[in-house]
Symmetry: C2
Subunit: 594 residues, 2 copies
């Protein structure tokens, strides 16, 4: 039963579900539905799919998430970045507008769903950690720019294509002569209006006396207003016949259950993109869910979230939709509107289903330029250039990973961009830890404490070399440790003992272990004994599983002070009881470095 509850969170919150919660969920669902209709249509277009596919992706997936998801406020459905990734992945295999294209998008959703479920069952949520913050942030900025650029053709009313920034802009430039001025006359005001709604309307409403929350909800309905007005104008003046591209006929029924095409080659081609979409979607979704949960001191379970999102994607696929994930803006709206349980998502699904049944005939005259405008305004808020500056100030190597992700995403493509970012940030991390900070230390007079000889007034003897290494020892830095210690010994012919002080060593892996053995042998060859001090419990436990201490020419000392007393009692004596103990303790952490 407990296990069942873990995999079916609905059994948990469902038991205490009452009328008050249901009322709140219903209100939230109405608001999210209104917001989701234009978004679904727009993102489907961005993914290169018929508009109704966006609606299909906003019905069953929400029900599936309500059953399997753990976040109380997350609103799943089509989102911008995943739509762009879908367009890029499927566009490489087949042409937009064909049945194969739709089939591949459905297969992509199915495959992503399976991957997410498998990751959830095997608790592989850890893999999302490989996406460092600078890489995600850079990727989302670059995606925002790419998406905005890709929508400009709809604003200008020209044909165009391409998946990289260069392709998109050159395709726009080539077709600039064919600008449709009426389309432009819809698109530009729509963008202006939507920007104003975002920035200017809410403060205005508040100044006129509305409560902030209500003002916010009204402002979030801006895209609906733009859709309604431009649709009415288009219908009234028959702008479709003037060359304004419209959404056109949307099939009105509910989606029929479909199976994704089972084609081994197609699935193999989609495997890489599906994996990336899964991980990116998961990271995006989980960070929204966690932010919202923390506000109410609730918890989400990341591994169960994988299953929830996986179920949503499988549900999307079998109802003819494409990959979905938790969206940031709509989840915040859902939360602010008072959603209490995942049931709000199920009610939203009903709302979208009703819209699919009854509203679609009204949308035939909706200009594509309006949808493009909503996309442009939405994604430009994803673009975060100041993050580049902040990251540059904080860490050059994180900045390098971020800049590389942005450039490669813009110039080569979304998949290569993310992959480059991940590989680069792992390599940079390994590089950074491959040359750990190492300090020759001496004793602080009057204490039992040891500090860097370069930064502090400390005492050292001539026969004992004590080296502190400020990093766990593992394959990337084990050779450096060996080199560096041999170098230090080679520079000091009088040295008879080397003590490695392991206060900051949390792990010694097998490679570092071999290096320690090797170091011991080499130091022995040159007549120097090798000791360790202040080895942490778990590290020592592991060393004790081997015959390391039997090979070791020296000893393992509990404290560095013990080591000094035993190996060089004179130097240890010099430092003794010059100051009262209390004084020594208080200077303990005074240095700039520990």
């Amino acid at each position: 039963m407990n296990r069942l509850q873990r995999y079916l969170p609905i059994l948990d919150w469902g038991r205490t579900y009452d009328r008050a919660a249901a009322t709140n969920d219903l209100i939230a669902a109405v608001i999210v539905t209104i917001m989701l209709i234009p978004q679904s249509l727009a993102y489907a277009l961005l993914a290169g799919l018929p508009a109704e596919v966006g609606l299909y992706a906003s019905i069953l997936p929400l029900v599936a998430y309500a059953i399997f998801g753990t976040s109380r406020a997350l609103a799943v459905g089509p989102v911008a970045v995943v739509s762009l990734m879908t367009a890029s992945a499927v566009g490489e295999l087949t042409a937009q507008g064909t049945a194969e294209y739709l089939g591949a998008a459905i297969a992509l959703a199915f495959l992503s769903g399976l991957i997410l479920i498998v990751m959830g069952l095997f608790r592989l949520g850890f893999l999302a950690n490989l996406l460092s913050h600078p890489v995600i942030s850079g990727f989302i900025t670059a995606s925002g720019l790419l998406i905005a650029a890709s929508q400009l053709k709809h604003i200008l009313g020209v044909p165009g294509g391409g998946t990289t920034l260069v392709e998109i802009t050159s395709s726009l430039a080539a077709n600039l002569g064919q600008i449709n001025l009426i389309t432009l006359a819809i698109g530009i005001p729509a963008i202006g209006f939507l920007f104003w709604v975002r920035k200017g309307l809410k403060p205005l409403l508040i100044r006129t006396g509305l409560k902030p929350r209500l003002a916010d909800s009204i402002a979030k309905a801006g895209p609906v207003a733009a859709v309604a007005v431009t649709t009415l104008l288009t219908a009234a003046f028959d702008l479709g016949s003037e060359g304004v591209k419209l959404v056109g006929h949307i099939p009105g029924g509910l989606p029929m259950p479909v199976l994704p095409p089972f084609d081994a080659k197609l699935w193999l081609d989609l495997l890489g993109p599906a994996l990336l979409i899964s991980v990116i979607g998961f990271v995006e979704s989980v960070s929204v869910a966690q932010t919202l949960a923390a506000k109410k001191r609730q918890r989400i379970l990341p591994d169960q979230e994988l299953i929830g999102l996986g179920a949503s994607n499988v549900a999307s696929a079998i109802s003819g939709g494409y990959p979905v994930t938790g969206g940031f803006a709509r989840s915040v709206v859902n939360f602010d509107a008072g959603a209490e349980t995942p049931a709000a998502g199920a009610y939203t699904a009903v709302g979208i289903a009703l819209a699919t049944l009854f509203l679609t005939p009204l949308l035939a005259n909706l200009p594509q330029a309006t949808l493009a405008a909503t996309i442009i305004v939405a994604v430009l808020s994803l673009v975060d250039f100041p993050a580049l500056r902040r990251t540059f100030i904080y860490s050059r190597s994180d900045f390098a990973a971020m800049a590389a992700t942005i450039l490669v995403t813009l110039l080569v493509g979304v998949e290569t961009g993310v992959t480059t970012g991940v590989i680069l940030s792992v390599l940079l991390y390994l590089f950074r830890t491959s040359r750990p900070h190492m300090a020759v230390v001496g004793i602080v007079p009057g204490t039992e404490h040891f500090r860097n000889v370069r930064r502090h007034k400390v005492v050292t003897g001539s026969t004992v070399l004590t080296v502190r290494v400020d990093e766990s020892l593992y394959f990337a830095n084990s050779r450096y440790l060996e080199d560096r210690i041999l170098e230090l010994v080679a520079e000091r012919p009088a040295i008879r003992h080397v003590v490695l002080m392991c206060t900051a060593v949390n792990v010694i892996d097998a490679s570092a272990f071999e290096s320690l053995e090797e170091l011991n042998r080499r130091l022995k060859d040159s007549g120097v004994t090798f000791h360790l001090s202040e080895v942490k419990g778990p590290v020592m436990d592991r060393l004790n599983r081997t015959d390391f201490t039997r090979h070791l020419t020296g000893q393992v000392f509990l404290t560095q002070y013990d080591a000094l007393c035993s190996l060089d009692p004179e130097t240890a004596h010099v430092s003794e009881s010059r100051h009262p103990k209390r004084r020594a303790m208080s200077t303990l952490w005074d240095g700039p470095e520990i």
Copy 2:
């Protein structure tokens, strides 16, 4: 001048080169030459190349290394593992025995040389650190098994092929009916003799009164004896006409300068293998060179070693040879025989050149089975199964990387094997550090020290939660940190302050920094203030570049004791001066864990 000396180490040791050193180098060169002749021929055959290519790869490369290398004892030339990798890489592109095959092997050497030189100039020797010890060890064990298996066909005198263990054994099984008994009658005794020479001859010679060093040198000449005896037997009884495969005619002249085929597609196909061969060859070579250098308290320069090996490979390519690197056995022989400078390598080159000019006619009757026997006996010493057990005992995750490397190398191939090992060991490391050890700590009564509440008798207050994290904070563990702390807070409703104790934190990267900011915001949302304590100097310097401390709801305390005095003076008081200070200090490191 200094810069020139760095890139041309010969300018350094050359200035003090005298007659005594020259005599020692010459003696070493004679011994290494005798050892290298059969090895060169055998490894060329292993690489699928004509026997003379092995000799060509043992002339100019040695001269190049003498000029650019920094090790005084390293002997470069064809080695077993790199020969296997050459066969695997080139065999994928074209068939053995063709001119294209030789051309591709030459291009591979050229490309490896360029890669090594570029790595040396840009000081990218660090990349070799990605090969963890278990991966290298597993790879060499698997290569040894593959090589031995691939040579069995020569011992049995049957046709055969394949690059994976399954292919090789099934090809042997299929051809088992065609065993040539005379070949077998040469191969089996040769193997037996060579094993006996390795294990039994040296002790025997020592017992008869020879000095150990001389006994060792005589034992190392075993393969030459096997070659001489079997060649004479074959010639005397004309065994070639009985179906015994011979080395046959070897062109006698010195190698003519050649250029590798410049074919963009070929180079692109060879790029991956060339990179792997470069890195594996470098790792193998550097570890031998370092071991030998340490014995005389000498140093080698890894970045210059890259240039030295790179120059050797380019030299090999332009003289019609294939990829080379520093060999373990022959370097040890060179060292033991008294080589003092890289000039010994140049003298060896002269020896091989003379052999190429004058000895090759005598080798026409050398049975391939003899060469196969020398290879089998040599590579089986590379196979180290006990290392599997040792690694298993020491670390499960290192064992996993090692076992995967062995299995994939044997069953899929050498390139996939190494790559899998590298990726797996990086992922396992990231996984291990992604869930760092975190402990809730309390104060040890009578001291200013803080220990894990689960392992020690310590005092904690009800409003302050102090968490110590035993790992640097970076992208792989930043989300876990966030989760874990929020979880700890959610479990303790009375908590008003959280202190993160950073004694073991050597780095906070941009992802972890964002997590700390996020944690601060979320804790603020739930009415908890967030503090740091014992932040190391460099870490604090970096935090100070941002406005982190302005956002922080709490403070950054120099010591954890300061934090407790300030946030919960009562608990801090309880612990004061119950014991004399001295006693407290001596129990400081007594626990199983620090």
